[in-house]
């Protein structure tokens, strides 16, 4: 974990009609760290993701990434700036194969377009090959390369979750946002996920993680931010946050499965 | 639409524009209701309207035995008889359109939701064997016989298919709607009275001038149209706001799953929604025939697009919006025709639609049916 601020979430307020989903939330994410974002259901965690990735425009506040203000950018531009994400409910392109799904992510960095595809220029062919190679490499990293040519909807659940991560990584992000990646996993799979997240960080990515499962979050995160009712109520090391009375109160007792 | 708009003054245009707009508004209600509840553009709704006009026509000529007389010698009725006749025609149109809408839902949409029922299976089987028969022979009586023969075995296998409960993607609903719309219009064009020609109605209401104001003569039929539309609109609003079924409609429009969990019979609500839309279209149809004295198998399409425009203009899913949108569109169309010429009338509606969608995709009043700002 470095001291360089990668993402600066500045006093963000997000209102939908009469509902305030986020209220003056400020979070700094440092390059190279794994930051856990926790809080009871409805606290605003996914809303944070959505603001960061451009799904919502904040009512107030700004998001500064790598020094530039990305608040007003279009979603695909934000992805091209270097933020990628997975989804709480898996949103793969179900009819496409696993490797094609990842290639869509890899395409984010490619420049050849319609005319090049029609003419099959050298540049375009090189980019296709590069996309494919990189996608297979990511599938290998995720351990799911054995089913690269299977349609995404035919993959087992664990594979699908990992495929989403591979696809996000293919966009060559600097910040990877994982939305409840451990949902539906058994303890062994959660352990594998923990190791995977460490591997990702070791490769140079910064990770922001929403998770309900304390055995994942507390073990993997360098720091933890806690939200409740749209406000940030605690921030710090996992051990500090765990014993913070406000946090305990918000959850009415932190679950005992933090192994 | 016939070019009876040979009016020149601004207030003339306004009165006729409001009358025209009333018809748009009533049909728009059907679109907005179905869209609010099912997120589906019921393309075939315009044909439900067209069928309503033909019901009105047939009701007058066949059931009330009103003769078709020549220009200048209309079979006018007055007083109590007139009211009775008009009401009869109104109910006939509303009934047929309402039933038609319900049947349409069962045949073209319900199977796509995964709960096709026997009625739908039988109807689709009938249509299938009719079409297959056409490959071999093209004579209506023969085709009908073939169709009846084929219905039984085919409907059995269709029902088996329906049991699987396959749900179709959203695009499929739209295409099915388009298919139904085309089929109904063509069917009327092929077998309806006067085939593809214009069909005249007997005129029983003498279009006397009711009063004069602001330099224009206001005819009684315009007044009836506008007042009638407002009355029907009020009745619908009361139904949706005050009755149990109406609450169900609003609930399903907002969140079908939750409504289902809370015990609302979603399928019944959907039927009610279609029925309401159909009844409104039937009312519009009767008023239409009263003013225009004619109909044709293909009037549905252009009127449907304009009414849908009106619905979007006012805010899709919003009942008051449909009314507002309808009036606005009627006025804009009239004024526009006066400025640009009648032949560009239809283009005006499309351009208005495009502009509105660009500037305010949620429409003027913007809210959806579920939010009870009705």
């Amino acid at each position: 974990m470095t001291n360089e601020v990668l993402l600066d979430f500045n006093n963000v307020t997000m209102q939908f009609g009469g509902v305030t989903a986020l209220s003056d939330v400020s979070v700094k994410i440092f390059r190279g760290e794994i930051l856990g974002l926790i809080g009871p259901n409805g606290a605003g965690k996914t809303t944070c993701f959505n603001v960061m990735t451009g799904v919502y425009q904040p009512t107030q506040g700004s998001v500064v990434f790598n020094g530039s203000d990305i608040t007003k950018l279009k979603r695909f531009q934000i992805t091209q700036s270097g933020i990628a994400r997975t989804f709480q409910n898996i949103r793969l392109f179900s009819e496409m194969t696993a490797v094609e799904n990842v290639m869509v992510g890899a395409d984010a960095r490619k420049t050849s377009s319609i005319p090049a595809a029609l003419l099959r220029t050298k540049h375009q062919r090189a980019e296709e090959k590069e996309s494919y190679d990189r996608s297979m490499e990511l599938l290998n990293l995720m351990g799911i390369a054995d089913r690269a040519s299977d349609a995404a909807r035919n993959l087992p659940y664990g594979y699908q979750r990992r495929l989403e991560i591979a696809r996000a990584l293919a966009t060559e992000p600097e910040l990877l946002c994982l939305d409840e990646p451990a949902a539906g996993f058994n303890p062994a799979e959660k352990q594998q996920l923990n190791e995977l997240i460490f591997t990702i960080r070791d490769r140079g990515y910064t990770v922001l993680l929403i998770e309900h499962d304390m055995s994942v979050v507390m073990n993997v995160s360098d720091r933890v931010v806690v939200l409740d009712f749209g406000k940030k109520i605690a921030e710090g090391l996992p051990s500090e946050v765990r014993s913070n009375p406000d946090v305990i109160a918000a959850y009415l007792g932190v679950p005992d499965d933090a192994a | 639409m016939p070019d009876w708009l040979i009016v020149r003054t601004f207030w003339d245009l306004t009165v006729t524009g409001l009358a025209l707009g009333s018809i748009y508004a009533l049909v728009a209600l059907g679109y907005t209701l179905v869209y609010g509840v099912l997120r589906l553009i019921n393309f075939a709704h315009s044909e439900i309207f067209m069928v309503g006009t033909f019901s009105a026509l047939i009701a007058s000529t066949q059931f009330l035995n009103i003769p078709m007389l020549e220009d200048g010698n209309y079979p006018y009725r007055t007083g109590g008889t007139l009211v009775l006749f008009l009401v009869f025609i109104l109910f006939a149109a509303m009934f047929i359109s309402g039933v038609g809408a319900v049947a349409l839902e069962r045949i073209a949409y319900r199977p796509l939701r995964g709960n096709g029922d026997a009625f739908g299976a039988i109807a689709l089987a009938f249509l299938t064997s009719f079409v297959i028969g056409l490959i071999f022979v093209n004579e209506t009586k023969a085709n009908l016989i073939i169709a009846c023969v084929g219905t039984a075995p085919i409907s059995y296998s269709y029902l088996r298919f329906f049991k699987k409960g396959k749900k179709a993607p959203r695009l499929a609903f739209l295409i099915s709607a388009i298919g139904a719309s085309t089929a109904i219009a063509e069917a009327v064009g092929i077998w309806g009275p006067n085939r593809r020609e214009q069909y005249q109605t007997p005129r029983i209401l003498e279009k006397k001038v009711l009063f004069s104001a602001l330099g224009t003569d206001v005819r009684i039929d315009y007044v009836i149209v506008i007042v009638g539309a407002l009355l029907m609109m009020t009745a619908l609003t009361l139904f949706v706001n005050k009755t149990k079924l109406g609450r169900g409609v609003r609930a399903v429009a907002q969140d079908a799953e939750t409504a289902r969990i809370l015990g609302v019979n979603v399928d019944l609500i959907i039927v009610v929604t279609f029925a309401l839309g159909g009844v409104m279209a039937g009312g519009a149809a009767m008023l239409f025939t009263m003013v225009y004295d004619q109909s044709r198998f293909n009037i549905g399409f252009i009127l449907g697009v304009k009414s849908f425009t009106a619905a979007v203009l006012g805010g899709i899913g919003n009942l008051k919006g449909a009314l507002l949108g309808g009036f606005m569109l009627g006025l804009v169309e009239n004024y526009g025709s006066a400025v640009f010429g009648g032949q560009w009338k239809d283009v005006i509606a499309f351009v208005v639609l495009l502009v509105v969608l660009m500037v305010r995709p949620t429409g003027i009043l913007g809210e959806s049916l579920g939010r009870a700002r009705v």
Partner: protein, 361 residues
């Protein structure tokens, strides 16, 4: 009923047998197979003469080669183009007849009404102008939700028709006559009577379009379109510039539609606004949907069916539109994917050149 089902199943197993046999053939064998198929297609005008089975394809009442050109090839081209918009990118376009009309009218205006340029020169102009219309229509409207897009495109088609009807410089209701024909080269004479050269020209255009579209599909463009169709928001969050690709789909679809219109005008020599009614848009859509939206070969099959069937069974031409309306409903109820559903490509993208396995879904 069950006999029909058995026949269908038999056809399916036959096709899988053929597919298996095909894969086991060598490259040379496959190449000669393709060549034979292409040759057979160019020889299509003589199919009805084949003893024994020729009668299957023949169209009583109209000369077979006229049907082939005036209807089948046109519908195939149109279906290919509309398939890009509706099937690949998932945009519901109900006014495709507008682009078709633009292509035809550009040819009409530049070869007859206001200039006398040769047809061959005007052809690319027609395609470009149609493409431009596609961009003009798409830019404000592609941000709209799918349902709204349908109505707006429908309006566009009608605006084109009404404008053609009311504008004198487009010929108004009279239409445009004496439209230029493709240039006669050697033995190929593009005259008034023989439709065969037109058919061959059209067929060549089809091959060209198929080639280009195939290249697009097997590239990041095709992937982007599929991603947009499946989950537009997720695609955008994965870095896909959805607006750009949707606009391109629209433009390409428009270009192909204009191409079809230009070819049509070059053959018939006379066009009027009545040639481009809304019902034609419905027929076009029916062709794509019935054949299999999203599948290029499905679109071709759909185009063939929609154009040829009513002529083959001349009986029900007056009920043609009715039948297609009913067919749309039936197909949506029982087989929304169409006859040839979108292929789930289980082959690796890099191996597509040498032909991997394709499993039809």
């Amino acid at each position: 009923m069950s006999r029909l089902w058995e026949l269908w199943k038999r056809l399916q197993s036959l096709s899988t047998d053929v597919q298996v046999r095909w894969k086991s053939m060598s490259r040379v064998q496959r190449l000669s197979g393709y060549v034979l198929a292409v040759l057979a297609l160019y020889l299509a005008p003589w199919w009805p003469k084949i003893p024994g089975i020729g009668w299957l394809v023949n169209t009583p009442g109209t000369q077979f080669s006229t049907v082939l050109n005036d209807q089948v090839i046109i519908f195939v081209l149109v279906a290919l183009g509309l398939n890009v918009v509706v099937g690949l990118a998932g945009l519901l376009d109900l006014g495709y007849v507008g682009f078709y009309a633009v292509g035809a009218y550009v040819v009409g205006v530049l070869t007859s009404q206001h200039a006398s340029l040769p047809w061959l020169v005007v052809l690319p102009i027609a395609v470009v102008v149609s493409m431009l219309f596609g961009v003009i229509l798409g830019t404000p409207t592609l941000r709209l939700r799918g349902d709204y897009l349908a109505i707006v495109t429908l309006g566009f088609g009608e605006i084109i028709r009404i404008s053609a009807k009311n504008l004198d410089w487009l010929g108004a209701s009279r239409g445009i006559s004496d439209i230029g024909r493709p240039p006669s080269i050697g033995p190929l004479k593009f005259g008034v009577i023989d439709p065969k050269p037109y058919y061959w020209l059209g067929l060549t255009l089809v091959f060209l379009v198929v080639f280009c579209l195939h290249r697009l599909e097997e590239s990041r463009v095709g992937r982007a379109w599929t991603a947009i169709r499946e989950d537009e928001d997720a695609a955008e969050l994965m870095g896909v510039n959805t607006f750009k690709f949707k606009l391109w789909a629209f433009a390409i679809g428009a270009a192909v539609g204009g191409l079809a219109g230009a070819h049509y005008a070059g053959k018939v020599g006379f066009i009027s606004p009545d040639n481009f009614p809304l019902q034609l848009s419905i027929l076009f859509l029916a062709a794509v949907v019935l054949g299999g939206s999203g599948n290029m070969y499905g679109a071709i099959l759909g185009g063939i069916m929609v154009a040829w069937l009513p002529e083959r069974f001349r009986n029900f031409t007056d009920k043609r539109v009715l039948v297609f309306g009913i067919a749309l409903v039936l197909v949506m109820v029982f087989r929304p994917e169409g006859l040839l559903p979108r292929r789930v490509r289980t082959k690796s993208p890099m191996k597509s050149a040498s032909g991997g396995q394709e499993v039809a879904q």
